[in-house]
């Protein structure tokens, strides 16, 4: 029997299944994504295509292989829900009663109480006054979503103002590399998409939020060890031009020191490629709240929630105990 065609059919079938699974389906699910609305309450479309110079910067990023040392994928190991009490309201007694009821109703091990020692409240009213001072404060960290939403409703029914906070957590987020995980929409208008696979250098998905200053990026590109000591990043001096100062120093000249500083009478000026790359880096944001990566945008009125995943609304699949964030 001629087994040749059978071998071909077997190989064809196997490759066809994985082609349908990853190539075809990804095209259907991700390749046809459109701009979406953020979940911040008003209709803000996300993302927007990068402006011209940043788009050129993407090409510089690609041509110089930045993706071999930098990733652009922030991970998330869990999400924590908190209730933030922003205003104690006019009837403080009612607020405290509501809080006590919540304490009893959600009394299970999964929730972690912050700033609400229930027993002490009953004992004295000074504890109660202390509790409601120094607002905004967060309570009921780690409760599940339905209980938390009910709690917010109960608190708002008294004259107090409470807000639900949804906080993504994870080791990358604790490092300040982002406020939520990156999703497919963050790369919608980029071509090529370079999520990277190594972290020889820090993750860059949200670097525009973390380091919004173009000049510091330019100095970092020219002399990485001036900005980050012990950095393994090569110097990208070929993206810059060292030229003699004529008619006074150029406003674009980099401010350098030490052995990287140009000799007197010379200045270092970025070429278009360096400016484009810096513009691209500054345009990297992945912090808009989306349906598939829910979070609340921290406004000035709410307390900044800590990022330590002591427990979570959804169990972190690998509970890596992170300590309080350094940044």
């Amino acid at each position: 029997m001629n087994y040749g065609p059978l071998v071909f059919l077997a190989a064809f079938f196997a490759l066809a299944t994985s082609w349908c699974g990853f190539v075809l389906t990804s095209q259907l699910q991700i390749g046809r994504l459109q701009q979406t609305n953020t979940t911040s309450g008003a209709t803000v479309t996300y993302p927007v295509a990068r402006p011209g110079l940043a788009r050129q910067g993407l090409e510089v990023y690609r041509a110089n292989g930045c993706a071999y040392c930098h990733s652009q994928q922030v991970g998330q190991s869990g999400t924590v829900i908190e209730i933030s009490l922003t205003d104690a309201g006019t009837n403080q007694a009612a607020t405290i009663t509501a809080l006590l009821n919540l304490a009893q109703a959600t009394n299970n091990e999964a929730t972690v109480w912050t700033a609400l020692p229930a027993l002490e409240l009953r004992a004295s009213s000074s504890a109660a006054t202390n509790l409601l001072s120094g607002l905004p404060k967060s309570f009921l960290r780690g409760s599940d979503p339905t209980a938390a939403k009910a709690a917010v409703k109960a608190l708002n029914a008294t004259s107090a103002k409470a807000q639900l906070l949804i906080v993504p957590i994870g080791p990358d987020l604790a490092r300040g590399w982002g406020k939520r995980r990156t999703v497919a929409e963050d790369f919608l208008f980029d071509s090529p998409v370079m999520p990277g696979s190594q972290r020889v250098g820090p993750d860059l998905a949200d670097v525009g939020t973390r380091l919004p200053n173009v000049q510091s990026h330019l100095v970092h590109l020219y002399a990485p060890r001036l900005v980050a000591e012990g950095s393994a990043m090569p110097s990208y001096r070929f993206l810059f031009e060292k030229r003699a100062i004529e008619h006074g120093p150029s406003p674009e000249a980099l401010v350098l020191s030490g052995k990287d500083a140009p000799p007197p009478g010379y200045e270092v000026v970025p070429r278009l490629a360096a400016k484009a790359l810096a513009a691209y880096l500054v345009s990297l944001h992945a912090e808009a709240p989306l349906f598939n990566a829910p979070m609340t945008v921290a406004s000035a009125a709410t307390s900044t929630p800590t990022n330590s995943p002591t427990s979570s609304g959804i169990a972190a699949t690998n509970a890596a105990p992170a300590t309080a964030p350094a940044k």
Binding site: N2, Y3, G4, V7, A10, A11, F12, A14, L15, T17, S18, F22, V23, S26, Q27, I30, G31, L33, R62, A63, N64, G65, A67, Y68, S71, Q73, G75, S77, P171, A174, R175, R181, V183, A184, F187, L188, F189, D190, S191, P192, V193, M194, P195, S197, Q198, V200, P202, P224, R225, A228, G230, S231, P234, S235, Y236, R237, F238, A322, P325, A326
Partner: protein, 489 residues
């Protein structure tokens, strides 16, 4: 000599179905294989040179930093592409074509066209290297060659493979050996994945993250499936042949084949990818199923040798293949274990991934190909190697180099990953912590590069000696004194 098998009565057109003698098969393969192996050895040296430059930059970031062509982000993909396309696929195709011809007991179909294909391939890789170094890289890992180079490479592959398929079709031995399934599948695998990836990423441009998914799919299919198919085919052929034992079980090999083609092509999507959760989950399941592939290969080979694993040490080629086999097993188990999400979280984005990648592409595939080259080339060319001691030296330097590269990077990567989990450890400290391991890996790079010099010396010397002997004989015949015979009137 190979015993001719009974021609099958079910064959149509069976007029010329007598198997061809091995000597004639080898003669038909000679020039194509010489070109494949010589070019592959040269590209491998090129890849080592670029790899060394990249490696040194970690210890001295200012090393060659002023040149745009030699910046890390260009030199690293240049090294990877030279190795993958210049050495691995090219020599793999050479070995594959020879095995298909031998196992089918037929001569290679149209060797001259295969040669044209090989030259086209080499031209494409050179153009791709130029493209990467001048900043034309596509940005996708393992697919960095720009469009014009990719087209040349694809054209070269088609020219080579069409004749490979034809050789398979014209086989005179109708019963298929295990290696033939693997090789026949591999011949079709590459054009499909390469054309899909290049079309959707460079021409038609899929949108957004779909590009990354397709790039990961291509990478996985090339490095796991294609390398696995060709490497295992070589192992299943050379080991039973050189140890003069039968392969233990055809059915275990069938299981290996199905597991590799069905589940091997589903891996590749990393766990943290910005894609819907089902894609990484599917990849995790597929990678863990690789355990069965690895166990089936291990069982098959162990029982083929009858438990006498020291048989590997008998022959230099077998040493290389044995090392490749062990790397395959260890690498497969490691991949399956490290796919577990809790462990994956630690090792992703670290040097561990690089170590694992090299263990697969070099520790397994390249070592198996070295063994195959050292076994096939003297047979095909008809001369022994000019420097037999260097073959042994190559093995020991390669083995030491791989160990010195993989082990430090694996350990360093795990440490790096564990530190990355704690936000209070500053990133600069993590970078400093990886440096000693990188130093060790540079030593490994140097040793492997030295081994490549030995390979090129041997293969180049072999080819040179063969053609010089031919030229000398031809010259002697052409300039021989014409024998004068007395004419008696």
């Amino acid at each position: 000599m190979s015993s001719p098998s009974q021609p099958s009565t079910a064959d149509t057109g069976a007029a010329t179905r007598c198997p061809v003698a091995s000597a004639d098969i080898d003669a038909s393969c000679r020039l194509p294989l010489v070109i494949f192996f010589l070019s592959a050895a040269a590209w491998l040296l090129c890849a080592s040179a670029f790899g060394l430059i990249a490696s040194i930059k970690f210890h001295a970031p200012g090393f060659l930093a002023d040149s745009a062509w030699l910046t890390y982000g260009r030199v690293r993909p240049a090294s990877v592409n030279c190795m993958l396309y210049g050495f691995c696929i090219q020599s793999g195709l050479g070995v594959a074509l020879w095995m298909l011809a031998r196992l089918g007991r037929t001569t290679l179909a149209a060797p001259w066209l295969v040669i044209v294909g090989a030259l086209c391939w080499n031209l494409g890789v050179a153009a791709g290297l130029f493209g990467i170094l001048t900043g034309g890289s596509t940005g996708f890992e393992n697919l960095e060659m720009p469009g014009y180079a990719a087209s040349l490479v694809f054209l070269g592959y088609l020219m080579i493979v069409v004749w490979g398929v034809l050789t398979f079709h014209q086989r005179r031995e109708r019963q298929l050996y295990v290696s033939q399934w693997f090789l026949f599948a591999a011949l079709f695998w590459f054009p499909w994945i390469y054309s899909t990836a290049n079309l959707l990423l460079l021409r038609l441009q899929a949108r957004g993250m779909a590009q990354a998914v397709i790039a990961w799919w291509y990478s996985d299919n090339l490095l796991v499936v294609w390398f696995g198919l060709v490497g295992l085919a070589a192992i299943f052929y050379v080991v039973p042949k050189l140890t003069i034992r039968d392969l233990h079980s055809r059915y275990l090999a069938l299981l290996t084949f199905w597991m590799l083609v069905l589940f091997g092509s589903w891996g590749g999507i990393p766990a943290s990818a910005p894609v819907p959760a089902w894609m990484p989950a599917w990849s995790v399941v597929a990678t863990m199923l690789g355990v069965v592939t690895v166990i089936s290969v291990f069982l098959n080979m162990r029982r083929t040798l009858g438990g006498k694993c020291l048989l590997f040490m008998r022959d230099p080629s077998l040493k290389f293949i044995g090392f490749g086999l062990v790397s395959f097993v260890i690498g497969g188990f490691t991949s399956a274990i490290m796919a577990w999400p809790a462990l994956n979280q630690v090792t992703q984005f670290t040097w561990f991934i690089i170590a694992k990648g090299l263990l697969n592409s070099y520790g397994f595939f390249a070592m198996v190909i070295f063994g195959a080259i050292y076994s096939i080339a003297p047979q095909v060319v008809g001369h022994p190697f000019p420097f037999p001691k260097l073959v042994r030296a190559h093995f020991w330097t390669a083995a030491a180099g791989i160990l010195l590269f993989v082990l430090p990077l694996a350990i360093g990567g795990i440490l790096q990953g564990l530190k990355l989990q704690h936000a209070d450890i500053p990133f600069a400290d993590i970078t400093k912590g990886t440096l000693p391991f990188l130093r060790a890996s540079t030593m490994g790079d140097l040793l492997m590069a030295f081994g490549h010099v030995l390979l090129l010396a041997n293969v180049g010397g072999l080819v040179f000696q063969f053609y010089r002997a031919r030229a000398v004989t031809a010259w002697r015949e052409a300039t021989a004194e014409i024998q004068m015979t007395e004419v008696r009137l």
